[in-house]
């Protein structure tokens, strides 16, 4: 193959990755600023928002399909991230904010994408009036829309932890669970509570278009746990240095494919290319699991002792390989460990072998947090808030993004299952600690920002 510049083996390696190891581009996400869509009435804002999104991203799906076909790499999702809605519609009443959410939903539907993110507010230092109205609108907005995703940033390393906001989120999550009780409380799967949220994350449900971003931008989220899994399985019992090197090589190739697809999409959509997000994103499909990668390193089951160390190695090696592959790396960039979206995690949870406590420890060394975890429907709001506070503390102190996406499944308890279908997956409900955190959460106020010096 002297004209090809690469060998037959390399060509077949790529084909193999797609055909047998589920290499795909998880998402091409177009970020769109809605700052120029404000207006005097909610109806005006709804029209402007709908028009702008459908104008800028009307071709997104067609372009993605074209590129996937030409390069032979599937693009699983096309998504939109918009300016946090609290910034453009926070002055309206609760039911009007719901109307704006519905306009986003219609726009997403009309261009044929599955999720649109940005029903968001930033309250890490304090909750403004616009933010309060948005938070109050969340239960109805998430119950009345299918494709809209919400996120609330409640803490940051510079601002500390807004415990008032966290207490409010505990109650809000409960309300959303109740409003969407008929569908396994699916509304909660569309809401992320963040610490140190990033402005260019292409992954749902936490994507939004930050105010530091350009008018519009194309961000790409890659996938590929299956590719890493196969590389590790083929390698056998090598030492950790070799293991890291194998993961780096696989991550490099995946990231390069992602960047080519992102740049091509950007060019064809005539929208600037932003970043590639180097996250390993699992799916409920067999062979596409981050948990199984950890097990391939030599752990009998994800969640056992050694899981945190294995995940730390994986996360770091993926970043090193990916950072070499692209000049513009951003977003969350780390391995995801959702429960209901990862086949190996689901299997471990089914046997009661992965706990909330171990998952929390693992989030200290990876992206992005306690994700897609169904807990009993009668979990008190204060306990949900305390779980969020723990996760925010990990993010604040370690200067990283953490997030919580808990599903207190209404009318269900430990051992019952929730099933969301599709990429959101299914999982058994796992137990929470039943001792109360109520007095702690009800104190109110903020946990101060940590020192940035004296770091030992």
């Amino acid at each position: 193959m002297e004209y090809a510049n690469f060998s037959a083996e390399e060509i077949l390696e790529t084909i193999n990755m797609v055909r047998f190891e589920r290499l795909d581009i998880r998402t091409v996400t177009v970020g769109i600023s809605l700052l120029d869509c404000t207006g005097d009435t909610a109806a005006q804002v709804c029209d402007r928002v709908y028009d702008k999104i459908t104008r800028i991203a009307g071709n997104l799906r067609r372009v993605s399909e074209e590129i996937a076909s030409e390069f032979g790499i599937p693009i699983v999702n096309n998504r939109i991230a918009v300016t946090p809605v609290a910034l453009i519609a926070g002055r309206f009443a609760r039911d009007e904010i719901v109307q704006v959410a519905q306009a986003l939903d219609r726009a997403a539907d009309s261009i044929g994408i599955d999720f649109i993110g940005g029903l968001s507010a930033h309250v890490e230092k304090g909750i403004g009036e616009s933010d309060t109205r948005l938070l109050t609108a969340l239960p109805e907005a998430l119950a009345e829309t299918r494709r809209v995703c919400a996120s609330v940033n409640v803490a940051s390393t510079r601002a500390g932890i807004n415990m008032d906001a966290i207490a409010t989120m505990g109650q809000t999550i409960k309300r959303i669970a109740e409003r969407t009780a008929a569908e396994s409380s699916i509304g909660c799967a569309k809401l992320v509570t963040f610490c140190n949220a990033v402005e260019d994350n292409p992954f749902m449900a936490g994507a939004y278009h930050g105010i530091g971003e350009p008018e519009c931008v194309v961000n790409v989220g890659i996938s590929g746990p299956g590719v890493v899994l196969r590389a590790l399985a083929d390698a056998g019992d090598v030492d950790f240095g070799t293991l890291a090197s194998i993961i780096r090589r696989a991550a490099f190739k995946i990231a390069r494919a992602g960047e080519l697809i992102g740049r091509t999409a950007a060019q064809r959509l005539a929208i600037p290319f932003g970043i590639i997000d180097l996250s390993l994103a699992p799916t409920p499909a067999a062979g596409d699991s981050v948990a199984r990668v950890l097990e391939a390193m030599g752990l009998a089951r994800v969640g056992t002792h050694g899981s945190t160390a294995a995940l730390a190695l994986l996360n770091d090696a993926v970043k090193k390989g990916g950072a070499m592959a692209s000049s513009h790396v951003g977003g969350l960039s780390g391995a995801f460990i959702p429960l209901s979206e990862d086949e190996g995690m689901i299997a471990a949870a089914e046997r009661g072998e992965i706990t909330l406590d171990k998952l929390e420890a693992m989030t200290a060394v990876c992206s992005v947090g306690l994700d897609m975890i169904p807990v009993p429907g009668d979990t008190p709001a204060e306990t949900l808030a305390a779980i969020i506070a723990d996760e925010a503390a990990i993010g604040v102190i370690n200067k990283k993004t953490t997030a919580v996406r808990l599903i207190p499944a209404a009318n269900k308890t430990v051992g019952d299952w929730v099933d969301f279908g599709g990429l959101l997956g299914r999982a058994p409900i796992i137990p929470v600690n039943r001792n109360s955190s109520q007095r702690f959460i009800r104190r109110g106020g903020r946990i101060p920002a940590p020192l940035q010096a004296l770091t030992n």
């Binding site: 193959m1 004209y3 090809a4 510049n5 690469f6 047998f20 390069f71 032979g72 080519l260």
Partner: protein, 106 residues
């Protein structure tokens, strides 16, 4: 299916940019390369290199194809190749060359 790399190897390579890789995977049998080459010829796509290898238990035939003077769009060519592939009971894919370049070369 025991062809050596094609004679075209003696000609200068066409400029890169509009090349694609056609991969044929399936059980080995008579007429596969002829069938696929015929589809490419009808579309005026020039085969500039062929090799064969093994992917898991299957034979894999790889062609480097120049699409500079192709008379039909990429999508249409892909569909024709896949239709022919179904007739021949093999899986045929066509991908722009760039994807291999970026994944395997720095």
């Amino acid at each position: 299916m025991n062809q050596q790399p094609s004679q075209s190897a003696a000609r200068p390579a066409p400029p890169p940019g509009n090349r694609a890789i056609v991969t044929i995977i399936g059980p080995d049998r008579v007429g596969i390369i002829a069938g696929i080459a015929n589809v490419l010829a009808e579309a005026n796509a020039n085969i500039i290199d062929i090799s064969q290898s093994v992917l898991r238990e299957f034979f894999a035939m790889i062609m480097v194809v120049d699409l500079e003077r192709a008379t039909i769009p990429f999508d249409a060519l892909r569909e024709r190749l896949q239709t022919k592939g179904r007739e021949l009971a093999v899986q045929v894919s066509i991908q722009r060359e760039d994807i291999f370049k970026v994944m395997h070369r720095i």
